[in-house]
C-alpha cells in the first residue's frame, strides 16, 4: 500500500492509498501511532485514494481518534469516496468523526478551535 504523509503547519496529514484491509491497516496503524508518539496532536486522514476500507481500517481510525482525544488532540477525515463514507456510516462512525469534503477544510477545522 502507498502511504504518504505531509504537514500543514502543526497539522499532520496522512494519505493512505488503495485498499485498507487487515494487512495494510497494520501499516497505517504503525504510521499513525508513530506520529502520535512523536507528539502529533492534530491529524488529518485524507482518504481520497482509498477505494475500500474494512473493519480493521475503521479500527485503526478509531484507535487513533481515541488516543488523540485523550490528550486534547483530534483526528479529522477528508475526501471520503462514497463507498468508504458508506462504511463509516453503517458503523455509525460519522457521528464520531468530523468529516470534511476537502483536505484544506479539515486542516482549517483545527484553526477555528485555536
Amino acid at each position: 500500500m502507498r502511504l504518504d504523509d505531509k504537514s500543514s503547519g502543526d497539522v499532520k496529514i496522512v494519505l493512505p492509498a488503495g485498499r485498507l484491509d487487515a494487512a495494510s491497516s497494520e501499516e497505517l496503524k504503525a504510521k499513525m501511532e508513530g506520529m502520535i508518539g512523536d507528539g502529533c496532536q492534530k491529524m488529518v486522514a485524507n482518504l481520497d485514494s482509498v477505494e475500500y476500507i474494512s473493519s480493521s481500517g475503521l479500527r485503526v481510525m478509531l484507535a487513533s481518534l481515541k488516543q488523540l482525544r485523550k490528550t486534547g488532540g483530534d483526528l479529522k477525515l477528508a475526501c471520503l469516496k462514497p463507498y468508504v463514507r458508506e462504511t463509516f456510516e453503517i458503523a455509525g462512525f460519522t457521528q464520531l468523526f468530523e468529516i470534511y469534503d476537502e483536505e484544506e477544510e479539515a486542516v482549517e477545522g483545527f484553526g477555528k478551535k485555536g
Binding site: 485498499r19 473493519s55 480493521s56 481510525m61 478509531l62 487513533s64 453503517i90 455509525g92 462512525f93
Partner: protein, 457 residues
C-alpha cells in the same frame, strides 16, 4: 639462504593439505560444534584439550628440521583451542604440545615449549576479550602472526648461544609465521563457515517456530469462535430460521446467537468484531456474553443494546469494537423489534410485493463510546416475508481481482431463491459467494442468518 627459506616454505605448505583434512575432521565433530555453541562442559573441554594437544604434537612431528630447530605448526592447535574453547583448553593443549616438544632435544627446547603454552593461553585471553566468541578469520590470522613473532622473540631471549638463536630465527622466522598463518586461515575459514551455518539454521528454526505458532494461534481463534456459536436453531412457531458462519483462515470474530426471552419472544443476534485472530475471538466471546446477560428476561431491545454497549465499552481497549444487530422476535405478535448498532443493515424482502427494506436505526458500533445514542424500531413479518441478516464478509467477499460480491448480488440471489426454506437459502447464498470468489482467499468471516415468515398458528 633465501633459497633455503623458499624450499622450507614449500615443504611446510605441503603440510597444509594435511591441515585441511585435519581441520575438516576436527571442526565436524559433535564436541567441537557444542564448544562453538558455547557449551563448555568439562567433557567438551577435555575433548578439545586432547584433540588440539594431539594436533600440536602432530605439528611437531610433521615439522621440518633446520639447524636443530623444527619449523612447524605446533602452536596452531593450542591457538585454535584457546580461540574457540577459552584459556583452559588453550593451556591444556599447549601443555601437551609444549611438553612433548620439551622432551625432544635441541637448544631451543625451552623457549619453543613455553611459546606453545603461551600460544594456547593467549588464544584463551582473546576468546574472553571477544566476549567468549570466536574472533573471526581476520582476527585469528593476525593473532597467529603475533603469536609466532612472540615465539621468535622468546627464542632470541632464552636460547644460548645468542648468535645461533639469531640464525635460527632468521632461517625459520618467515616460514613459521607464514605456515601458522596459513594453517590458521584454513581453520578460521572453516570455523566461521560453521558459525554462519548454525546461525542460518537458527534463523530457519525460528522462522518455522513462528509459523507454527501462527498456525496454532489461528486454530485456537477458530476453535474459540466455533465453540461459542449455537449448535442448533431453536424451534419456532410460524417462522423458519437458519444460520451459518464460515470462518476465514484468519478468523474475524463474527457471531450469531439465539436468546430465549419469554414465552413467544426470542432474541436474535448477529455481530462482527473488528480485528482478527485470537484478540477478535476473545472480544467476540466477551461481547456475546455481555449481550446474553443483558438480554435475558429483558423485553426492550433498546435497553438490551444500551446495556450491552455500556458493558462492552467498559472493556474495549485500543479501538476494539463490535457491530451488532439485535432483534426480539415476537412469534405471537409476528413482529421484530430491533436495534442496529453499526451493523450492515439486514434486508427484508416483502413476500407479496417483492419490496426491499433495510433495517437501519440510529446507533453506533458497540464499544466505541459509553451511553451511545440508539433507537429501537419494529416491523411486522408476514407469511412469505424474508429477513436476511449478514456480516460484511458476505458483501465484501472478493474474487481474485478484488471485485466485491456486493449488496446487489446478495439481493438478487435472495429474490431469485425466496421460495427456498431458510436453511437452503443460507446454503444457496454461501454457495453463490464461494462460486463468485472462485478460490480467491476468504479474508473475512462469512456469516448469514435467514428468518422466513411461515403460515401463522
Amino acid at each position: 639462504m633465501a633459497a633455503m627459506s623458499g624450499s622450507l616454505l614449500l615443504t611446510l605448505i605441503d603440510k597444509i593439505c594435511v591441515i585441511v583434512v585435519a581441520a575438516y575432521l576436527i571442526t565436524r565433530t559433535r564436541r567441537f560444534s557444542e564448544v562453538l555453541a558455547g557449551k563448555l562442559t568439562p567433557k567438551n573441554q577435555a575433548a578439545m584439550i586432547l584433540t588440539f594437544g594431539a594436533f600440536s604434537v602432530f605439528g611437531t612431528v610433521s615439522g621440518v628440521e633446520i639447524s636443530g630447530v623444527i619449523a612447524n605448526v605446533r602452536d596452531l592447535g593450542p591457538m585454535i583451542g584457546g580461540l574457540v574453547g577459552g584459556p583452559l583448553v588453550g593451556l591444556g593443549a599447549g601443555l601437551i604440545g609444549g611438553g612433548y616438544r620439551y622432551l625432544l632435544d635441541g637448544f631451543t627446547g625451552l623457549p619453543c615449549s613455553i611459546a606453545t603454552v603461551f600460544a594456547g593461553v593467549f588464544g584463551g585471553i582473546v576468546y574472553i576479550l571477544n566476549r567468549q566468541k570466536f574472533v573471526g578469520i581476520r582476527g585469528a590470522v593476525v593473532f597467529s602472526v603475533f603469536v609466532e613473532s612472540f615465539h621468535m622473540l622468546l627464542v632470541l631471549l632464552i636460547s644460548e648461544p645468542y648468535s645461533e638463536a639469531v640464525m635460527v630465527v632468521r632461517e625459520t622466522g618467515i616460514p613459521m609465521i607464514a605456515s601458522n598463518a596459513i594453517g590458521m586461515l584454513i581453520f578460521a575459514f572453516m570455523i566461521s563457515n560453521l558459525i554462519k551455518e548454525r546461525e542460518t539454521e537458527e534463523e530457519r528454526d525460528e522462522y518455522f517456530d513462528e509459523l507454527e505458532k501462527k498456525k496454532l494461534e489461528l486454530n485456537i481463534a477458530r476453535e474459540i469462535q466455533q465453540s461459542f456459536l449455537p449448535e442448533m436453531v431453536p424451534p419456532l412457531k410460524g417462522f423458519d430460521l437458519a444460520a451459518k458462519s464460515l470462518p476465514a483462515k484468519e478468523v474475524g470474530g463474527d457471531f450469531y446467537d439465539f436468546i430465549p426471552i419469554s414465552g413467544d419472544e426470542i432474541g436474535l443476534v448477529i455481530a462482527d468484531v473488528s480485528g482478527k485472530s485470537v484478540p477478535a475471538a476473545l472480544f467476540m466471546v466477551l461481547s456475546r456474553a455481555m449481550v446474553k446477560a443483558s438480554a435475558t428476561g429483558n423485553t426492550s431491545a433498546l435497553k438490551v443494546a444500551k446495556r450491552a454497549n455500556d458493558l462492552i465499552s467498559a472493556d474495549a481497549k485500543s479501538g476494539m469494537f463490535v457491530t451488532l444487530f439485535y432483534a426480539i422476535l415476537d412469534q405471537g405478535a409476528r413482529t421484530l423489534r430491533y436495534v442496529n448498532a453499526g451493523h450492515n443493515p439486514p434486508l427484508v424482502l416483502d413476500g407479496e410485493t417483492g419490496d426491499l427494506t433495510l433495517l437501519k436505526t440510529r446507533g453506533i458500533a458497540m464499544g466505541v463510546m459509553d451511553d451511545a445514542e440508539m433507537e429501537e424500531k419494529v416491523i411486522e413479518i408476514g407469511e412469505g416475508d424474508l429477513v436476511v441478516f449478514y456480516t460484511d464478509g458476505v458483501t465484501e467477499a472478493v474474487d481474485d481481482e478484488y471485485h466485491q460480491f456486493g449488496t446487489e448480488r446478495l439481493v438478487e440471489t435472495v429474490k431469485k431463491n425466496s421460495h427456498l426454506p431458510a436453511v437452503d437459502l443460507v446454503e444457496k447464498i454461501t454457495g453463490e459467494i464461494l462460486a463468485f470468489s472462485r478460490g480467491a482467499p476468504q479474508f473475512d468471516d462469512i456469516t448469514l442468518m435467514v428468518l422466513k415468515g411461515e403460515k401463522g398458528r
